[in-house]
Structures are given as structure tokens and as C-alpha cells.
Point group: C2
């Protein structure tokens, strides 16, 4: 099956200027930019945990496997260069499944100028596992890190949150272009992408930065899907709780100096809306203002690994 | 389980000069050498296909998953820099299994100066799949490619072949140091590692190079394990057939200019023996001399993907 699949795949892989040597030898060779720093990340999607093949378009699984990696590169403000794709395929429909996965991921790779530099494809008695490793490079502005938020910085986010299970977890746009533009034109102190949950990923930023954050709950951009979920009779969470804890929004959360945040919110330079949802503070932890003007702690929620 | 595992793992990961930013952020940052060329390869080992957890030391599985990738880097004459390790873990014994896999691969990583730059660890209802992506860099001598063999070049191999299933497929030494030394001190026209089978991987080199190879069967270094396999009452292959087709020897097969091969075989500069097993020829395909002084074709055998 692998030989037939590779023949099919290679006919679909466009040339890429960074790919000095493509699939077919023992390894691929990439030409990176001159500073020779290389950003690397890997993510695995497992059938039955991250998706159910009997309930979704298989192409969406392939797309998502690449998109989650691109989101990690975006969180570093790295420009995507290449990806390697490994598939552990159930024997049943292996070829069709592999093709559908690539039908889903190749358009996204083209959209973000990602070279498919290699992979490994095997069949087995197990379910589908798809592992993608993405390689990017930094611009002269350097990386976004999780550490770097300072008390007084604004907490900014792209887009809306919550209810991604209704569809966005498959169809989201990794915020690569947004991160590169922000890094090129604005002062950003820290960033992360929201994969586990807005409050939990923000908590990671505060922990890495040695500070806390005071959230303005009324300012959290709650998605229509979060509201739709909350309205279901069997749902026990509010729309805001979905926004704070659902995860897989794959938006960016940013620490931006206060003055710069004013400029940024006025400019609104992205295709997606930027919102200020709070302020980084000295006191570790997440906080919200209570009705008496004090603070109460907010427990970070989300997908705990 | 993942949080506990990551805490355990990070305490074991040494610092590495190329790892500008290690695991813990959205991605890792590597500093490559100045020419900014990057060699990338990925391999997946699937339970039930590549190993059986109930029949082997789990550490050997982790070691092999890294070693097969290092062998691919060796085949390119690339110096290993970093690896990313993704695990799809059966829920039963997930933590112990993850730890044992790393207990096996970390000493090999240390031995070859490989930074563990990241990974992904999840549990599921499926069997164990382990995917490693390795990143290397080229020396000033450039890469070994499969294409580049020329008629008249000697076919040289490191080590011995056949019967790796008796143990060497787990315990082999990736020929990284050997490849770097050969590339630094000798003229090498082409190279591959033997993963699928000596005759099959040599056939790949001839196909990519647009030539063929005439083999001297009496010169093939047949391993003791190939002989032991062939002696089994239920085994239907000769020791030579095992050497030509078994695969997973992870030795190097090289195309070396004839005069250089004489120097190389005299020097024997490696810890492992170099043997000449034939000559590259114009006529495509693999050939052996028959008793009347003519050629007869040799069908390449090995693991067909």
C-alpha cells in the first residue's frame, strides 16, 4: 500500500524553494534562512480521542493535524517552512484514508507555503494515529515566548472563544499571518496559542512569566458556538465558562505593553478582531474583580494533560 | 498522566548547546550551523508490526525508534542535532511504558549528542505507536545522496548482513560517526542505509543513480545470525539469502570511486569492517556473474513498503 500511496502523493507535492532535497532519499534537506535558527514542534492526533473517523470528513482530520502544528509555530511568531507527516493506518481502507488525510492537509500546506519534507506511512491492527512535525524559522524580530509578560501589560486575544467542538476545532485558521504581522509592527512581550483552554493557556503564560493576570470577564469574546452549547438543555456550563475552558480555539493570547495595546486596539490591523480581556499583575494566579472592588481567584480550566 | 510524565522527563533532559529553547513553550528553538541547511527524517514504529511489547524489553523499542532515525541521518552524512518524540500510549501502564521508552532512548541520544527538543504524549485505546523526527545538519563536505553512483565505482558496505531479527534490529549502532568520518576523509559518490534489505536498498541506489550493480556473492559479509537462522530446521533460506534480503541491518552501502576504494579498504579507518561486495555498472539492475562468465540478474529482495 505504501508504494502506491507514495506514488500518488509525490505527484501532488509541489516544488518548494526551501526543499533542497525532497522525499525519496534517506532524509530531506531544507534550506533555512541565514540566522539558522529553527523552530520545531510536533503534535499527534489519536483516533477515538481527538477525532472519530465514523463521524467526520477524513480530510478535516488531516487538515487539523497540520493546523495544530501551524498554530504552535504562530504562537512562536515563526514562519512555517516544512512538515513531516507520519501515519499509523488501520488496514481497512488504509489507502483511501491516507489519501483523504492528505487531500485535507495539502491545501492548508499550500496556503501557508509549507513543504511536505517527508513522512512515514505504515498499516497496523490499531486505530489511526497521525503525527506531524512542523519546522519554522524566526524573523529578525525573534520569537514570541510564553515568558515575558510584565505586570501592567494588557492581556489581548485574537478572535472568539468556546464551543470549538461544534466545528471550529476542525476548521480554525492558524494565526500564523497574524503573529508575523504583530511581531513585525508591534511590541509584543509574550504569546501562546489557546489549545487547552483560554484560562489554562493564559495561566501558563503567567506562570512562565512569574506574574498573574486580572481578567475582565465582561470583555471575554464569547463565541456564538459557546452560546449555542450553553443553551442546550443537557449543558451545565454558561457560555462564559465554555469560553474560558473549552480549548481548541487556536487563537492567540498576547502580553502587550499598555501603551502599545491602545495603538493595537485602535489600529485593529488583523482580519480577526483583537480584544483586551485583562491586565497582567504582580500577584501570581488568575483573578477577577468582585462586586466589592476586591479580587477573587479564578481557577484556570481546560484540557489537563 | 502527561503532566507527571513530563515532570519526570524534564528532570532527565540535559542542556544542549543547540537547544536555544527547550520543551515547555509552544515549540522549541534550535540553533543550527551557519550554512542553515537542515536534514530532517521521521520514522514510526507500530506495535504488532515493528515490535511486540510482550516479547521484548520496552527500553529497546524506545532505543530503536531513535536509532532508525539516526541511521537515516547517517545515510545522509548528517550530524544529529535534535529529535522530537511522539507517543500514542495504551492506557494500561502508560506512564511506565513512556518512562521505559525514554530510559532506552535517552542514553542513545546522549551518545550521539541529540537534544530532545519536544514531543507529544497521549493515551488512547490503541496499541503503542512511537514516532520520532530527527533533525541533523550537514558538514562542509555536503550530503551523501542515493544518486551519484557511477559505473566503475566500488560497492562497499559496513559490517555484516542478515538475521537481524535475532537481535541486531534492536541493538544496532547507527553508523553516524562512520559516515561523518568517511565524508570528511574520503571521496564517496553515493550512500544509503540498509533498512529494507541489502539487495533492495542497493537497488534503490542504482535506480536513483541510473546504473546497475554487479555483485560478488562470495564477498557479501554474512552475519553469524544469518547462518544461525538458515540452520534452523524450519528455515527455507540460505544464510546468503538472509544477508541479501532480511533488512534492518542498518549498515551503510556506499558507492566509492575505484581508486579511493582501494585506499579505503587498506586503511580500514572504521571500527566496523568495510567490505567490497561488487561494482556499479552501466546496465540497470542487480547482476551476479554466472559460471560461464556471463551475468545473470539478481532480484532485489527485502521489505516492500
Amino acid at each position: 500500500m505504501e508504494a502506491e500511496f507514495l506514488k500518488w502523493l509525490r505527484a501532488r507535492l509541489p516544488a518548494h524553494p526551501a526543499l533542497l532535497l525532497g522525499p525519496g532519499d534517506d532524509a530531506a534537506i531544507l534550506q533555512l534562512a541565514q540566522d539558522a535558527r529553527c523552530v520545531v514542534t510536533t503534535d499527534t492526533l489519536n483516533e477515538g480521542v481527538d477525532f472519530h473517523l465514523d463521524r467526520c470528513d477524513w480530510r478535516l482530520v488531516g487538515r487539523k493535524a497540520l493546523a495544530v502544528n501551524l498554530s504552535d509555530l504562530a504562537a512562536m511568531a515563526a514562519r512555517p517552512v516544512a512538515a513531516l507527516v507520519s501515519l499509523s493506518l488501520p488496514r481497512n481502507h488504509a489507502l483511501e484514508l491516507a489519501q483523504q488525510l492528505f487531500e485535507g492537509l495539502l491545501p492548508l500546506a499550500a496556503d501557508f507555503d509549507v513543504a511536505i519534507a517527508g513522512g512515514d506511512t505504515g498499516t497496523w491492527e490499531g486505530p489511526l494515529a497521525i503525527t506531524i512535525t512542523a519546522i519554522g524559522q524566526l524573523t529578525e524580530q525573534g520569537p514570541f515566548l510564553r515568558r515575558g509578560a510584565r505586570p501592567g501589560d494588557a492581556v489581548l486575544v485574537t478572535g472568539e472563544f468556546g464551543g470549538s467542538i461544534l466545528g471550529k476545532h476542525f476548521t480554525f485558521q492558524p494565526r500564523v499571518r497574524e503573529a508575523l504581522l504583530l511581531n513585525a509592527k508591534y511590541r509584543i512581550h509574550a504569546a501562546a496559542d489557546v489549545s487547552d483552554g483560554l484560562s489554562l493557556d493564559l495561566a501558563h503564560v503567567t506562570q512562565e512569566s512569574g506574574c498573574g493576570a486580572l481578567l475582565d470577564l465582561a470583555a471575554i469574546p464569547v463565541s456564538g458556538d459557546a452560546r449555542r452549547l450553553a443553551e442546550r438543555p443537557d449543558d451545565e456550563q454558561s457560555a462564559l465558562e465554555h469560553a474560558l475552558g473549552d480549548g481548541e480555539d487556536f487563537e492567540l493570547v498576547l502580553a502587550v505593553p499598555a501603551d502599545e495595546s491602545v495603538r493595537l486596539l485602535t489600529d485593529q490591523p488583523l482580519d480577526v478582531r483583537l480584544s483586551r480581556i485583562g491586565t497582567f499583575v504582580q500577584e501570581p494566579g488568575l483573578w477577577v474583580a468582585d462586586e466589592e472592588g476586591g479580587y477573587r481567584p479564578l481557577m484556570p480550566r481546560g484540557y489537563q494533560h
